[in-house]
């Protein structure tokens, strides 16, 4: 566990080609750290969402950082379709492993539990399954009729990256009820976290806070980043800036528009974007 001075320092050692897992837009999305990844011009990412992606995914795809994407969906929510994702899917610029929400949760839980696979109901007969040669259907050994059941291989990300409201000086991180972040961290080799602030007292010493705390043993690095989710929201701290997201959706309709947006808001910005909140 190490503390870093800012999101750029935090992500500096994430290698090209890493399998990176990010939270869904309804959770604690590390937008400041994602901009830092773009600034360091990371490439060939295998990007996984737990289980659906949004703005962070569209930016990484538009910036040419992504080689493959695994997600149950990617959209900008109320701001509409994710333009760079749609274009990349239509042009074949990135490879997409289409999944479905519980399949990603279960595959991460497989790594969390140290098992090679997890079973899942449903999915059989879908083209999601038909296009996943890495998934297997077996006859359920416990079903006297031997009905089919899907097995999903464990997914073990190289890096989990998210933002949280609070960490302590021991490296424990408070995630509240966003327990998909706990599973992401358990399942991943490294976990990097940006936080609104760092407090001295241990979160584990307070039974109320401990209930929503990811212990330091799963955390590799922490950097303070006020407004680290911005322009997405952090419940209890700030709401999403829908105008900024809609503006992005509009600009990013073309690659040229996206490039200009990126230059202005990420490259030239040097980490200051979040302060605008």
């Amino acid at each position: 566990m190490a503390f870093f001075k800012d999101p750029d320092a935090l992500v500096q050692d994430v290698p090209n080609g890493a399998l990176l897992v990010l939270p869904p837009d309804y959770s604690l999305v590390p937008m400041a750290a994602v901009r830092a990844l773009v600034r360091k011009r990371i490439t060939d990412l295998h990007l996984l969402f737990t289980p659906i992606g949004g703005l962070a995914g569209d930016i990484l795809i538009g910036a040419g950082c992504v080689k493959t994407l695994e997600a149950a969906a990617l959209s900008l929510g109320e701001a509409g379709p994710a333009p760079r994702f749609s274009d990349a899917a239509q042009s074949g610029a990135i490879a997409i492993k289409d999944s479905t929400c519980p399949a990603i949760h279960s595959a991460l839980q497989a790594s969390e539990k140290g098992v090679p696979f997890m079973p899942l109901r449903g999915v059989i007969g879908s083209d999601v399954l038909a296009n996943r040669p890495d998934w297997k259907v077996i006859d359920d050994p416990f079903d006297p009729e031997g009905g089919p059941i899907l097995l999903l291989p464990a997914i073990k990300p190289d890096v989990a990256l998210f933002h949280a409201p609070l960490a302590d000086s021991e490296g424990n991180v408070w995630i509240g009820k966003r327990r998909e972040l706990v599973t992401m961290a358990h399942a991943s080799k490294e976990t990097l976290v940006t936080v609104e602030r760092i407090q001295r007292p241990s979160l584990l010493d307070d039974p109320t806070m401990a209930a929503g705390t990811l212990p330091a043993m799963y955390v590799s690095g922490i950097a303070e980043a006020k407004g680290g989710c911005w322009p997405l929201g952090l419940p209890g701290h700030y709401t999403a800036n829908l105008n900024a997201i809609r503006e992005y959706a509009l600009q990013a309709k073309t690659q040229a528009g996206f490039d200009a947006w990126l230059q202005r808001n990420v490259i030239d910005d040097q980490g200051q974007m979040a302060q605008q909140q």
Binding site: I52, A73, S75, Q90, T100, G122, D127
Partner: protein, 244 residues
């Protein structure tokens, strides 16, 4: 109170499909189904439990993103809503793209949880206002979630009804076909046929979908608007306007 807008009409139409349901979950970007669910919770004096996924209001989940799916897998969710960029006559859903996957001509966000929820939730209500041949196709280009399954496949759940801007259809699992059960006021069976790319059954005389019940309209405007505004403020403002 006899005047109503399109959203209010659809909310009341969806609400009737929740009659007798004990627990409905409402996914992301579902203001009309969400309003219908919250209204029915009020109408049933809480006998209908409503679990919203989006936002914090009326969202009881505390075990992370997986809990909705775990909860459905436990058999605790009786009704859920799905849509589809394409839906065909066997109730197959396409939320991924048109054209020959993976070389899609038009890409949509993705399958979300449909490939699972469609299998385990007994009453999946398909809510898709746009009623065109672009949406209701003979055969979907990509099956995000199949409408029916082969024998032996574990499938306590599946399609229950379809609500569009024109009509309501119910799905028959045995016949693997939709049946038109009512057309909305001012709409015709011909209009439905013209705009539907698949065949469906229909009685000789198709009833007209009931207009919003006045007392429910009143409830909606007086109380539910404020409640759904906690999750969908812009929708609530647009639909219920000054009342919220």
């Amino acid at each position: 109170m006899t005047d109503y807008n399109q959203d209010e009409f659809l909310i009341c139409a969806v609400a009737r499909l929740l009659d007798g349901v004990s627990h409905v979950a409402v996914g992301n970007a579902s203001p009309v189904p969400g309003s219908a669910a919250l209204m029915m919770r009020e109408v049933t004096q809480g006998a209908l439990r409503v679990s919203m996924i989006a936002g914090d209001a009326n969202n009881p989940f505390t075990d992370g993103g997986r809990e909705l799916f775990d909860c459905a897998g436990q058999g605790r969710i009786e009704a859920f809503f799905l849509g589809g960029a394409q839906i065909d006559g066997q109730a197959n859903l396409n939320l991924v793209g048109t054209g020959e996957y993976p070389h899609v001509t038009k890409r949509f966000p993705g399958s979300f949880g449909s490939a699972y929820m469609y299998f385990v939730v007994p009453k999946v209500i398909l809510f898709r206002p746009e009623h065109t041949r672009r949406v209701f196709v003979p055969k979907v280009d990509f099956i995000s979630a199949p409408g029916t399954s082969a024998p032996g496949v574990y499938r306590p759940g599946g399609p229950y009804a379809l609500v569009t801007e024109l009509c309501i259809m119910m799905f028959d699992k045995n016949k693997k076909r939709f049946t038109l059960v009512s057309v909305h006021p001012g709409r015709t069976v011909e209009e439905v046929r013209d705009n539907t790319g698949f065949e469906f059954d229909a009685p000789k005389k198709v009833p007209v979908t009931r207009k919003p019940e006045p007392e429910r309209l009143q409830l909606l405007r007086a109380k539910i608007g404020r409640e759904i505004a906690k999750t969908y403020p812009e929708f609530a403002k647009r639909v219920f306007g000054a009342a919220v």
